[in-house]
């Protein structure tokens, strides 16, 4: 084994390290041209901008780990955000916490719906979540009758919630940091997470080891949904508006962040650190392009190119020669 300096790191750890260095280089390159990019205020802003993506991508990672995909994550976010906004409009005096809990609870239910359909009816994940994506968007329209909930209809407390600062970072950033830390520890240390990796890596072998891969899928979708619900409330209060089409198409950025962060679409491989780095990478590109004077439309092109390169690099196939043939 040519482990060298990297001895002690798993394959995933090694990849995360390499990608971390790459992200730092990108950051350094932008700073070299625009020193202001490294100012504490700008970095804090970058973090704030990336926080919701980080949360959603971590939830999505769980789903991809068990060989699924959740296309409904942005629609779930929008529906739960609308619920929180409507609740806040109806009960402005109730405070922020009930709205947050309502959104997270509703998101959990919506995620569990996806999970049940995939687990119990054994429907293909892409079909299930493509369907629920539309259903969830439709429900928003029905709830809001197609109308917007605007800033002036939200309580001041509700609007202030994600913007509060502590040690120079916003509440939103802190929430993303806490969730990311929980993910890092849980994925590495808890038994249920290790079962999740096993079920995604080889469902058949998992069954022979007494792991119900379907139950693991259900769990992943439910957690993904809970995070989407929470993120919905945060999104609506941060952008101070709720309507049917918020975060439209955002699920694709979430999935892109996972893939850039080294999550294998075939399941079983991925780390929380990698996903966070993937989000930061996208965040740096997104916020530096206007500085460099490149149209933000190039962002999609660059994201796409990075995905293709990442997939290409991890596609080094290991040949498992079959040894049927007996030597003469």
């Amino acid at each position: 084994m040519s482990a060298g300096v990297l001895r002690g790191f798993s394959d995933t750890g090694r990849r995360d390290l390499a990608f971390g260095v790459l992200t730092l280089l990108l950051f350094g390159a932008v700073v070299a041209v625009f020193p202001g990019f490294a100012s504490p205020r700008n970095v804090a802003g970058l973090l704030d901008d990336t926080s919701i993506l980080v949360m959603l991508a971590l939830g999505q990672m769980l789903v991809i780990l068990v060989r699924g995909v959740d296309l409904s994550v942005a629609a779930n976010l929008a529906l739960c955000g609308m619920l929180a906004a409507l609740f806040n409009r109806a009960y402005p005096g109730a405070g922020v916490l009930p709205a947050v809990l309502l959104a997270a609870g509703a998101g959990t239910l919506l995620g569990a719906c996806n999970g049940l359909l995939v687990w119990k009816l054994r429907l293909p994940p892409i079909v299930v979540t493509l369907g629920t994506m539309s259903v969830y968007r439709g429900v928003i329209y029905l709830l809001s009758r197609g109308e917007w909930v605007n800033e002036n209809e939200m309580s001041r407390e509700f609007l202030a919630f994600p913007r509060g600062t502590f040690l120079g970072l916003t509440t939103l950033s802190w929430l993303a940091i806490v969730i990311a830390a929980l993910f890092v520890v849980a994925l590495r240390r808890t038994r249920v997470a290790r079962d999740l990796y096993a079920a995604g890596g080889n469902p058949e072998a998992a069954a022979y080891s007494g792991i119900d891969a379907g139950r693991m899928q259900f769990l992943a979708y439910t957690i993904c949904g809970a995070i989407a619900g929470l993120a919905g409330c945060l999104w609506v209060s941060r952008f101070a508006v709720a309507y049917t089409d918020i975060a439209l198409g955002f699920e694709l950025q979430v999935i892109a962040a996972c893939l850039i962060g080294g999550v294998a679409i075939a399941g079983g491989v991925g780390s929380a650190v990698g996903v966070v780095l993937g989000c930061v990478f996208i965040g740096i590109i997104r916020s530096s392009l206007p500085l460099v004077g490149i149209s933000p439309f190039w962002q999609m092109f660059i994201n796409g190119a990075v995905i293709l390169v990442a997939v290409l690099l991890s596609a080094r196939r290991r040949e498992h020669p079959r040894t049927v043939l007996e030597s003469a």
Binding site: D11, R189, G201, N202, E204, A205, V324
Partner: protein, 486 residues
């Protein structure tokens, strides 16, 4: 005689209507290796699945230390001390070796994995086995032999007293086998009870001390290996009447040569394959699962390229070509969501639609003709193949190629998993097609089928031809010996 550790009595199991096990009995003794022998389809795999808790028996009794038990699921099997090394090597490539050993059973407190203990215990077990690789290595980097060792280590970690090895040597080199046997012996000497499933008699006599033989899902013999010999075991494995059911009457007279194969080789799969096929002949190819027969068929048909050698069709046969009815009809043979007519049309579009325009009437006509000729039980040419029974699906796959009138028809396990009626029909069609002056190569693991249908039989073992038999010299024992000797 020691008291058995694990006793099975009167185990029965059916899938749908098909009986897989009937009145199976088995004893495993501590400090002993019992060899389980039987042809393909004798019920060995079903037994392994019952012992590993994947399937539940329909009846019968399982006892450990004389106590009746139920193996409800794989976790129960593990807790009862039954460890299984699966033939297909079920490893988690995305996890480290240490994690593989403890999947779903990690040392943990309050749901949190204790990595230090996990690594320490994994390393200890690997040291005990003298495995020669590190517990932190990703399982993807292991060879197949090393993955087998990981499965054995997994059983040890769970302190399994009963260890089932399902054809563990099927894809190992000689040196890797020796290494595996060293481990098996040390486990035996430590007082564990082992079940060793293998087709290779020399291995069986080398490593095991007891035997049990299954035939058609039933136990037909068991005892000490010291009291028996290879020929007696083969008689037990085969012992049944062969021949009546098959339509092949007279042997084909030597027609002209249709196909000649010279020194065909594909790296890692087969080598030095040479034979000829004559007009009017059914050439059987027998061998154990994994002998390289399917790979040979794929090269003959051109799905995979050969690395060396030649396949020559006689000038007269060149236009008509070669067709292959593949082993896996659901994924390779038929397009399941298509209708019977659309499936039949696929390889015949050149004649059905010469200018690129499909003609539904002609396709339907062709389908009607073959539904009649092969007695395909269907509502009509428009029925979707997915909704047909396995036997009728197979008839559709055969029909789509026969409609092309290939000079050489290659059939890979043509009657696997289909009912008796359809089986007889497939045999009849095959026989008629050969008699009409074409050549048929029939690959089968079903001994009676090979013996009943073939004019000549080639036996493959581990990628090489290991025998050629005529109708007179092809006996069950001779074929089985050629297929399984190492």
């Amino acid at each position: 005689m020691s008291t058995p550790l694990l006793t099975l009595t009167d185990i029965r199991k059916s899938f749908g209507g098909a009986r897989a096990l009937e009145r199976v009995a088995l004893e495993l003794h501590p400090g002993s290796v019992t060899a389980l022998l039987g042809e393909n389809g004798a019920g060995k795999s079903t037994l392994v699945k019952i012992l590993s808790g994947v399937h539940q028996p329909d009846g019968g009794e399982i006892r450990i230390d004389g106590r009746a038990i139920r193996i409800a699921d794989p976790v129960a099997a593990r807790e009862l001390g039954i460890g299984v090394v699966h033939q297909e090597c079920l490893a988690f490539d995305n996890l480290s070796v240490a994690e593989n050993l403890f999947v779903n059973n990690q040392p943990a407190r309050h749901g949190f994995v204790n990595w230090r203990e996990l690594r320490a215990r994994a390393s200890a077990v690997l040291r005990e086995l003298d495995a020669g690789f590190d517990a932190d290595l990703p399982a993807a980097r292991l060879s197949i032999a090393q993955k087998h060792v990981v499965q054995i280590a997994r059983a040890l970690v769970h302190d399994s007293r009963v260890l089932i090895l399902d054809e563990p040597t099927a894809s190992l080199s000689q040196r890797e086998c020796a290494e595996l046997f060293r481990i098996v012996r040390s486990l035996r000497d430590a007082g564990r009870a082992l079940l060793f499933i293998s087709h290779k008699f020399d291995e069986v006599f080398e490593i095991a001390d007891r035997y049990a033989v299954f035939r058609d899902g039933a136990s037909v013999g068991a005892g000490l290996l010291a009291d028996t010999d290879r020929d007696a075991l083969i008689r037990l494995m085969v012992g049944r009447d062969v021949g009546q059911l098959f339509p092949r009457g007279e042997t084909a007279t030597g027609g002209d040569e249709l196909l000649r194969v010279d020194g065909l080789r594909r790296a890692g799969e087969f080598a030095d394959i040479s034979f000829a096929l004559n007009r009017g002949e059914i050439l059987g190819i027998y061998g154990l699962v994994g002998a390289g027969r399917t790979e040979l068929a794929q090269v003959l048909f051109g799905v995979q390229p050969a690395d060396a050698g030649r396949v020559t069709l006689s000038p007269a046969a060149r236009a008509a070509g070669i067709a292959l009815v593949p082993e896996d009809r659901q994924s390779q043979g038929a397009v399941l969501p298509f209708s019977i007519a659309a499936n039949l049309a696929l390889p015949n579009l050149a004649t059905l639609a010469p200018r690129g325009w499909c003609d539904a009437a002609r396709e339907t006509g062709l389908a009607r003709e073959w539904i009649d000729r092969l007695a395909i039980r269907a509502t009509g040419p428009d029925q979707v193949v997915h909704s047909l029974s396995g036997g009728n699906q197979q008839k559709v796959v055969i029909a789509k190629w026969l409609a092309r009138r290939p000079a050489v028809l290659v059939l890979d396990e043509p009657t696997k998993g289909i009912d008796v009626g359809a089986k007889a029909a497939v045999h009849q069609v095959t026989s008629d097609y050969a008699r009409a002056g074409n050549g048929v190569i029939m690959i089968s693991s079903d001994l009676p089928e090979i013996l009943g249908m073939s004019d000549r039989v080639l036996v493959m073992r581990r990628g090489r031809l290991r025998g050629e038999f005529t109708r007179d010299t092809a006996t069950p024992a001779a074929l089985l010996r050629a297929a399984s000797d190492a």
